[in-house]
């Protein structure tokens, strides 16, 4: 179906395990956890039942020039940091008025987020109530708007072929990448900076997830709280983070001698039409998303050596996905669930985990699933635990399933 080869020539991320891709990847291989006690007085002030989160390893406000950082919501800050890393990693210079390495009319941006800039929205509302309108920043709206992260990246990297910000909760980052792939397929762009970002750890979001009974309350052992596929899992851990990739036409990348990590060979997107938070019990949509990705890539389930699971560490969700993987792909793929170490990065998850899937193929190494001490017998999959698994891979799937029934599967192959 697709006739334009799309490869990945740059990757960037800032996550609870590290301020870039290398430290995140190393942390994952070494079995480190990005989950910790939330260091904020509001945890006790509101007596929240959930006191843990996957907070960023590096404060983005300290990585950007002060004047720029104060004009950006935290979600915008990390989207910009990840995008610039990916851009530099692709071998492109930071654009200026005099020179750009990529023709702006052939450069697009597609960066999803689940919720955008709630930290600014809520902080400004507090200021309005306490001190009146004078203290409300004139930049409040550009900081809270969900297209803000993508828009700032587009301005910074001079992208004129269109800037998109898909929102599909936990699938936003994966949709960001799939949509970027589509921009190139449609001939709208030759290069797209694609990914996702989320920074929404705040009393109200933590309280909201807690009230929905979806998050772990293992407060005394934060590093052991996120345990996808394990018998003792009790919910996910909210995290913050951003991931970005440079998607590029393969012929353009080869002509300039770029380093190519691998191909984005296809994707599948379906919707459950079932429930606003619960997955369809038969997993039809998840199965179809994975199947559609394989069809688009011209591959079969036998070709898929690895699945990077969405698996958030919820009792029901992990089983649903395991069933779907067995039906769509089989019992043979080597599986890992990175939310065990990273927490749930919501809009950032699909992008960061897509990068991890690509790296698994690139390095021939699948990271372990942290805290997998007793695999739930209902899972029935080969999930890596303990040490990273060396395995030669030609193709792998990355799953992201969002609240609202959004199912996205990205299919990466080696070069």
């Amino acid at each position: 179906m697709s006739n334009i080869d799309v490869v990945i020539t740059g990757i960037g991320a800032t996550t609870p395990l590290g301020g870039d891709v290398a430290s995140t990847w190393e942390g994952l291989l070494a079995g480190r956890s990005g989950i910790r006690r939330i260091e904020a007085d509001w945890v006790e002030r509101f007596d929240l039942p959930v006191k843990i989160g996957a907070t960023l390893a590096e404060d983005p406000a300290e990585k950007l020039p002060r004047v720029q950082a104060r004009r950006l919501d935290r979600c915008e800050q990390i989207a910009l940091i990840a995008a610039r890393q990916a851009w530099a990693d692709a071998g492109f210079q930071q654009p200026s008025d005099e020179h750009t390495d990529v023709d702006p009319d052939r450069l697009g941006v597609s960066i999803g987020t689940g919720i955008g800039g709630p930290l600014t929205l809520l902080a400004m509302d507090d200021l309005l109530e306490q001190d009146g309108i004078r203290k409300v920043s004139p930049l409040t709206v550009p900081m809270l708007m969900p297209n803000g992260p993508a828009a700032h990246v587009g301005i910074d990297l001079k992208a004129r072929a269109g800037v998109h910000s898909p929102a599909s909760a936990c699938a936003s980052g994966a949709e960001g990448i799939a949509n970027g792939y589509q921009m190139i397929q449609n001939g709208r762009a030759d290069v797209v900076v694609a990914g996702g970002a989320e920074a929404c750890i705040h009393p109200i979001t933590v309280a909201g997830f807690a009230q929905a009974r979806t998050v772990s309350t293992r407060n005394d052992e934060p590093e052991r709280a996120s345990r996808p596929f394990d018998v003792d899992r009790d919910g996910f851990v909210l995290g913050e983070g951003a991931g970005a990739v440079v998607l590029e036409r393969a012929d353009r990348a080869k002509a300039r001698g770029a380093r190519i990590y691998g191909r984005l060979a296809g994707y599948g997107i379906t919707s459950d039409a079932h429930h606003i938070t619960g997955n369809h019990p038969e997993g039809i949509g998840q199965i179809a998303a994975m199947a559609n990705a394989m069809t688009m890539a011209g591959l079969t389930s036998a070709d898929i050596g690895h699945v990077n699971a969405h698996a958030t560490s919820t009792v029901v969700g992990d089983i649903g996905e395991a069933n779907a993987i067995r039906k769509a792909v089989g019992e043979h793929p080597v599986v890992t669930a990175p939310k065990s170490a990273l927490g749930h990065l919501v809009g950032g998850a699909g992008a960061v985990e897509g990068i991890l899937t690509l790296l698994a193929i690139h390095h021939g190494l699948v990271p372990p699933t942290l805290n997998l001490e007793n695999l739930d017998p209902k899972i029935g999959l080969d999930v890596v635990a303990g040490e990273p698994r060396k395995v030669e891979l030609t193709a792998a799937l990355s799953n992201s399933f969002g609240f609202g029934g959004h199912n996205t599967a990205l299919l990466f192959t080696g070069e």
């Binding site: 020039p65 004078r134 203290k135 920043s137 004139p138 930049l139 550009p142």
Partner: protein, 81 residues
Amino acid sequence: MADKQEILSGLAEIVEEVAGVAQDDVSLEKSFVDDLDIDSLSMVEIAVQAEDKFGVKIPDDELANLKTVGDAVDYVSANAK
């Protein structure tokens, strides 16, 4: 009441804080938009901080007339209590 030199240095501090322009670059003849590259949103922030610092009111239609640093210094000097 502050004299014009004090107003200028107070204003330069605010401009550096809000827009990152070095205080030494904030001189009377400089245009906020054309020379110092300060956008309208930052001008609003600068005005609010100047109101607090100097005890003046700067309504939006007055702010629109303050093109240069010197205009702003003159305005504050004329209107501060």
